[in-house]
């Protein structure tokens, strides 16, 4: 709420209070002239209220919005609307992840250095390598496929 009471904000409040009634009065005046027979005034009759609306928009923006916030919000909206990017498939399948992260458990607690423990370690390493391979394949397929073709990017280059 602090942004409403800065010195700069009061400047915008004061300007709004002057400009908006001024524009509406001028629009009213042009309406009178238009109904009085001045055909050109019809154009200005609709123009003055638009100026008042612009003043309100400007007042609101100058008080509220940093351009960076506006851009961030717009990008977020675009991303949501277009679902930019793949619906990321998990590169490491869930069972492998469980294996990689689980260190203790009822069936997974052989003594250190035992044959079973070494086997489990090897399985983990192989699974991780396989997962990495799959992920690299996925990346390669992405760069091969390229982007959607648009009029800006007719070849669909990545």
């Amino acid at each position: 709420m602090k942004k409403w009471v800065t010195r700069r904000a009061f400047l915008w409040h004061a300007l709004l209070v002057v400009i908006v009634p001024g524009c509406l009065l001028a629009g009213r005046w042009q309406l009178d002239r238009a109904t009085g027979g001045n055909g050109l005034s019809w154009a200005y009759t609709f123009e003055w209220p638009i100026f008042a609306v612009i003043a309100v928009i400007g007042w609101w923006q100058l008080i509220h919005e940093a351009p960076e916030e506006v851009l961030a919000r717009k990008d977020e909206r675009l991303r949501r609307a277009k679902q930019v990017g793949p619906p990321t498939p998990d590169p490491i399948p869930a069972p492998t992840r469980l294996m990689l992260t689980t260190t203790t458990g009822p069936g997974l607690a052989p003594g250190p250095g035992s044959e079973t423990a070494t086997e489990i370690e090897e399985t983990k390493i192989e699974a991780a390598a396989a997962a990495l391979d799959r992920y690299n394949e996925y990346l390669a397929s992405l760069s091969e496929k390229g982007k959607a073709k648009t009029w800006r990017n007719p070849q669909g280059r990545p």
């Binding site: 700069r8 154009a43 123009e47 638009i50 100058l62």
Partner: protein
Amino acid sequence: MTTPSRAQRWSSLESSLARYRVMAWVVGVGLAIVVFVGIPLQFGAGDDIVVQVVGTAHGYLYIIYLFFALDLARRARFTLPEMAAMVGAGLIPGLAFVIERKITAKVRSGDARPWRFPWQRRTEPADRA
């Protein structure tokens, strides 16, 4: 992201400035035609077709100009005198071209200091949002 999105390109300062400059020229030329061709024709030859057509068009183009000027003013954090100059540029013939040059030079130079009218004292504003 290496390539900026369309929204990012649209809202870059440079493209905001470009939009403003185009409309400044359109409005400046339109107003010059109205004042230096249309009004002499209207009162000299009694022919007000130029004023009717170009005058009306100028009025509505000025609305677009105002939108772009406001957009640029917000992005470049202009002060009130600068904004007043931008608004006035569409109302006084010939002024649009001068103001457009000054605004462009200011935005391109990246100078954050506000430029001022000659009669203004050189003080820094207390707070700039």
